[in-house]
Symmetry: C3
Subunit: 476 residues, 3 copies
Amino acid sequence: MSWSLHPERALPSGELRPISREIYHAIADLPLVSMHGHVDVRAFAEDAAFPDPAQLLVVPDHYLVRMLVSQGVPLPALGIPPMDGAGPAGAPLETDPRAIWRRFCSHWALFRGTPTRYWLEHELIEIFGVTEEPSAESADRIFDEIAAALERPDFRPRALFQRFNLEILATTDGATDDLAAHRSLARQGWGERIVPTFRPDPLLHVNRPDWAGQLAALSQITGVDAHSYEGYLSALRQRRRDFRDAGARATDHGHLLADTTELSAEEATRIFAAALSGKVTAQEAQAFSGHMLFEMARMSCEDGLVMQLHPGSLRDHDRAVARRYGHDKGFDIPIHTEYTRALRPVLEAFGHHRGFRFIVFTLDETAYSRELAPLAGAYPAMRLGAPWWFLDSPEGMRRFRESATETAGFYNTTGFVDDTRAYASIPARHDLARRIDAGFLARLVAEHRMGLDEAIETAIDLSYHLPKAAYPALPH
Amino acid sequence: MSWSLHPERALPSGELRPISREIYHAIADLPLVSMHGHVDVRAFAEDAAFPDPAQLLVVPDHYLVRMLVSQGVPLPALGIPPMDGAGPAGAPLETDPRAIWRRFCSHWALFRGTPTRYWLEHELIEIFGVTEEPSAESADRIFDEIAAALERPDFRPRALFQRFNLEILATTDGATDDLAAHRSLARQGWGERIVPTFRPDPLLHVNRPDWAGQLAALSQITGVDAHSYEGYLSALRQRRRDFRDAGARATDHGHLLADTTELSAEEATRIFAAALSGKVTAQEAQAFSGHMLFEMARMSCEDGLVMQLHPGSLRDHDRAVARRYGHDKGFDIPIHTEYTRALRPVLEAFGHHRGFRFIVFTLDETAYSRELAPLAGAYPAMRLGAPWWFLDSPEGMRRFRESATETAGFYNTTGFVDDTRAYASIPARHDLARRIDAGFLARLVAEHRMGLDEAIETAIDLSYHLPKAAYPALPH
Amino acid sequence: MSWSLHPERALPSGELRPISREIYHAIADLPLVSMHGHVDVRAFAEDAAFPDPAQLLVVPDHYLVRMLVSQGVPLPALGIPPMDGAGPAGAPLETDPRAIWRRFCSHWALFRGTPTRYWLEHELIEIFGVTEEPSAESADRIFDEIAAALERPDFRPRALFQRFNLEILATTDGATDDLAAHRSLARQGWGERIVPTFRPDPLLHVNRPDWAGQLAALSQITGVDAHSYEGYLSALRQRRRDFRDAGARATDHGHLLADTTELSAEEATRIFAAALSGKVTAQEAQAFSGHMLFEMARMSCEDGLVMQLHPGSLRDHDRAVARRYGHDKGFDIPIHTEYTRALRPVLEAFGHHRGFRFIVFTLDETAYSRELAPLAGAYPAMRLGAPWWFLDSPEGMRRFRESATETAGFYNTTGFVDDTRAYASIPARHDLARRIDAGFLARLVAEHRMGLDEAIETAIDLSYHLPKAAYPALPH
C-alpha cells in the first residue's frame, strides 16, 4: 500500500469525526493568511530554485536538527558547519546532501508523535508526491524524487505561493534592512502579497555585541544620528515609517521577559549613554529593553503598526553550540513568563487606545488561563496570538483552545498565525490548525454548547477573517 | 425551531453520554447549597422587584461587561457611570436600559465557547422562558419579555429562592456591617436559609485608603476602641462572634498572596502603630495582612467559623478604570500563586486542629496537582475549594477534577461552591457543575476505574453532602 | 458478583478501546524493568515472609497513610509510633494489625479516583486473590485471607520477584551503605537481577543534622579521610566505584531545587570548611548542594553511572509530624521548580558528553512542555524520566505524554520507571503505565497521526527497551 495522508487525519475520532469533518470541509480551502513568517524575502525576490532536499528540508529546520542532535547526531554530520574561527567542529562536516538526507530518513522513527513528523508527511506527500515512508532503505529514492521536482519551475518560490493558496505572507526584517527585496517585489506587482515586518530586537538590547554596529547601520540608513537617545528614537520612528510605506503591517519583538516598564526620560537617556560608552550593566540593559517595548507601543499608537510580542525564550541555552554553529540550532529553551504585572504599564497606558493593537504570544502555557486570557478578555487593544513554536502542535493547539476560550472567547484571539522559517511547511501548519479547531468546535457542538452553524462560522473566522482583521492594511 | 436547552448539554458525547446521563439524573434535582455568594442580602430583606433586564443581567455582571469592553464597547455605553469627580467618562453615558440590552444582544457571538454564554442561555430560557436567541433583531422582543416577567411576584428574590430549589445561601458581608438585613430576615423566618459570611479584607490591609474609616467603624459597632493592636484583635474577635450569632458559618479572605506568616506580637504591634500614623510601607502592610490570616486561623480554632481563602487576583489591573468606574469591572487579573510555603505557617500550627476547617481556592491551575491537592490530601483541616471565577467553567471544572482528584481524592474537596454576584445564574452554575462532574465520573466508570453505583454516590456527595459538611452549622 | 478486575480497565472507552486493547496485548506480558525502586534490599537478602497485611500494605505506604490522616485518622491509630523522646503521640498507638486493617478498609471510599485505589485493587485481587471489596464488614475476612497467603513460601520476596515477571530491580542505597546485602545476593546468583543505586543526598547537604555522622561513616567505609573537601570528593568517587563494582547502574539525587551551579574550588572548599566547623549558612549549604550535583555529573562522565535527579519536593512540610513520627509520612509537598536555568551548568558542561546520561524527573507538570521536553529534545545526554510520585497515575501519565511527546518525542523519555517502596504494587504500576501508553498511542492511531504497527513498536519500546537502554549495564 502506498504511503498517503488520511483525509481525516488530526480530526477527533468516534462521534466527533463526522461533525468535525463537516466543519473542516467548510474551511479546508480558504486562502492562507500568513502574517508572521520567517521565510527570507530574497527567496521571492529572486524566485530561484531551491537547492537540494537536505538544504531545503533538513539543514535549516531547527525542530528537525535538534531532534537528531538529541539522539547523538553531531551538528556537522547534518551539514551545519562550524563558524569561522570557532575551532574544531568535533565531527567531520558532511557536505554530501544525499548523506544528510539518508541520516535524517534513517531516524524517521524519532519523530513519532511530533508535529515535525506531521508537517513533513504533508510536505513530502502533498507537495512532492512522495509515495513511500522515509527510511534508510527509501532515502535515496525519495531524495531523487524531491531533487527532480526542485528543478521544475512550478517548485519555484512564487509558483508555490500560488499553489499554497497564500493570500498574503509577511516576512520578518531587521530594522536596518534596506527593504530592497520588498521594493523589487512591489515593482513586480507582489507588494500587496508579500509584506515586511519591523523587527528591531538587536537595536533594543543595548548590551548585545552587535548593538554598536546596528546603531551605525540605523544612522546610516535613516540619515539621522542615532548615537543619542533622542536621535535613536527619531531614527526608529523613521524606520517604522519606512516599513509602513513598504507595506508593513506590524512590528515583532522577541524579548526574554514580557516586561514593559517605562523608564523616565532621564533614566533612559542615562542608560543609553552608558551603553554607548560600553559601561552598561546587564540589569540596565534589561530595563532599557522593557522600556523600549513601552516606547514601541507608544509609536504603534501613532503609526498604526500592530505590535507583536514573543517573550519567554532563553536563546542559546548552550552557548558553546551558539559560538560554534550559530543561533537557531534548537537550543532555545523557554522559561516561566510573567505577564500580569509585566504588561501592566503598556496596557494601562495604551490598552484602550483606539489605534493600538497588541498581539501577545507565549511559550508558557500556564499563562493561558491565568493571565493572558483574562488580559485579552478585558483590554480592547490586546489579542492573544496563536500557539507558538513548541506549542504549534495538535495537543498544544487543543490545550490552547481549551484553556483560553472560556475567558477570552474566540474573538480576542488572532486566529491562526504560523511562525515558520520552513516555507514548505506553511500549508501543513495552516491545515493542521484548521483540523484542530474543527475538532475543538465539534466537541462544543456534540456537547450542545454551540450550534453547528455557529461552529462553522467560528471556524471560518479563526482560519481567515480573524488573522486578516488582526493585521489590517494601513493607508500609505 | 424555537431556541431551547438540550437536556444533555455539557455531558460528554459518545459512549460516555448514557453513563453520564444516568449519573446526572441522580443529582439533577438535589437542593442547591450555595455557601459562598455575593448577592446583596438587602435584595432578600426587601424582596423588591428587580429593575429592568439590563440592570439585572448586564450592568452588574463583570464577565459580560469585560467581554464587551474587550471588543471596544466603552463602559459608559453599558450604563456604567463614571464616579463623582472622576472626570470625563470618555464616552456618553447610556441611560436607556433598552439600548444597553440591544448592545449586549448584538454582540452575542462574542460569548461563544464561554461559560457566560452557557449561564445566560440557561437563565433566559429556564427562568424567563425566552424562545429566541439574542441578536440585534431579537433584542427588543426579549427585553420586553424579561421586563414583563420582572414585574410579576414570582420573580421577586424570595420567590426565586424557592423556585431555584435553594436550601441555603450565604451572603458576603463586610466585617463592620450592622447585619440588620440578616436580623430582619431572621425575624421573618429566613434566618436558617440566608446566612452572612464574615469578610474583613479592608480591615486586614492597613495601607488601603479606607482603612482608617474601617477602623473607626469597627470601633463604633463593637464599642471596643480598635485603635490599638490589642483592641483591634478584640474587636475583630467580637465581630466574628456577632456574625456567628447571626448564623454565619464562615469567614472569607481575598488576598493578593496566600502568605500566612505569623509576625511576633511586637512586630505586629509596631506595624499597626505605623499604619495608624500613616507611615506604613507597602511591604509592612503585606506582611501584616499575611500575619492576620494566621490570626484569623487562630480565631477560627476558637469560634469554629470555617476559614475561606481566595488568593491570587491582582485587583484593578487598570487603575484608571478603577478610579473612574469603580472596582469589579473586569480588570482583576490573576497572578502566579505559591501555596506550599505560603500556607505552611497556618497548616503547621492548626492543620491538625479538630475545630479548624480551612478551604482554599485558586485562580492558578498549576497549583492543583503540584501544591493544593498534596496539601489537602495530607492536612485534616484543609479542603480544596471548587474551581473559582475564570475556572468555574466546563473545561475549567473538568481540568480541576482531572488534576486534583488523583492526589486529594473527592473527599478532600468541598464539592460545588458557586461564587457569584449574579443571582439568576446560581441554578445554571450548579447545574453545570453537576453535569461536568457526571461526565468526569462517567469516564472513570467507562474505563472501569470506578463502579456506577460508586459514581452515583460520589456525585450526590459532590453536589450536596460535601458542601453541606464543609460549612457546618454552628451552635449559637 | 465477585469483586474482580476488568480486563480492559484504564483503557480508553469507545472507538479507542479496540485499538488500545490490541496495543496493550502486545506489551502486557513483557518483563518488568524496575530501575528506580525503594524496596529494602534486605527483604531479598533474607527472603523472609512479610509480616501481617497492615504492616505490608498500610503502615509503610505514605500515599495511603496521608489520605487517612487527611480525613482525621491520627497517625498512631495506623500503627505509626511516635519516635523515642518525641513526647505524647496525641492518640493511642494502635498495635493490633487487624484493627489497623479494619480502619483502612472502612475508609475505602476515600480512595475513589486515586491511583492508590487502582494499585490496591490490583494487588488484592491479582496477588492475594481477594474476591470482595474492602469495607468495614469485609475487613476481617480479607485480613485473614492475606495473612494466610503471607505464610506461604510463594509469597516470599524472591518468589514474588519471579511471579511479578521482574527482569531486574534496582534498590536505593545510602552512599555509606556497606552493600553487604547486595554482596550476599550476588553470591546467591541474584547479582544481575537486584542491583544497588548510589544515593548520596545526606552527604551533599552539609547543614543537615546527620551530615557529620555521614562524613564519619564515609571516612570509615572508604578508609579515606573525608574531613577535607578533597578527601570528601575522593571518598565519594571511591564509593561510586564500589557501587559500580556491586552492579549499580545509576546514582539518584533528591534535592529541593534543580540548581546545578558549579562553585569555584576555593568557594566549595570554604563552604565545606564552614560546614565542618558548624558555621555554614542555609544559603551556603544550598549553593554547595547545587555544586555537588555538578560534581556528580562530572563523576558520571568518568564512571558511567547514570545520573538521576528528582527535585522539587519540600520534605517534611509539617515539621512536627516529622519530629514525632519520622520522614515519609505523606507531608512532602511539591514546589514550583525551575529547570531551564538550573540545569544549564551541567548541560552546557556535559550535555554532549558521550558517556553521560542524565535522567530528570519532576513534580511540577508545568515544566513538561515549557522546559523539560525542550531540554531533553536538544541535549543528547538528557532523558526525561517517567511521571513521578503524585503524577504516576492515569491522568498524570496521560498529561505527561500529551505535554512532552510533541517536543521530546518518545525516544528522549526513559519509558516507564516505577518509584515505589511498596513492593507488591510494582506489577500494578507497570501494568497501569502500559495501559495508559496504549490508550495514548491508540488516539494517535485513531486520528491517523501514527500507524498501528508503529504504535505497537513504540509501546514495546516504552515498556521494555527504553528503560533497559536508559540504565545500561556497566562493565566491572
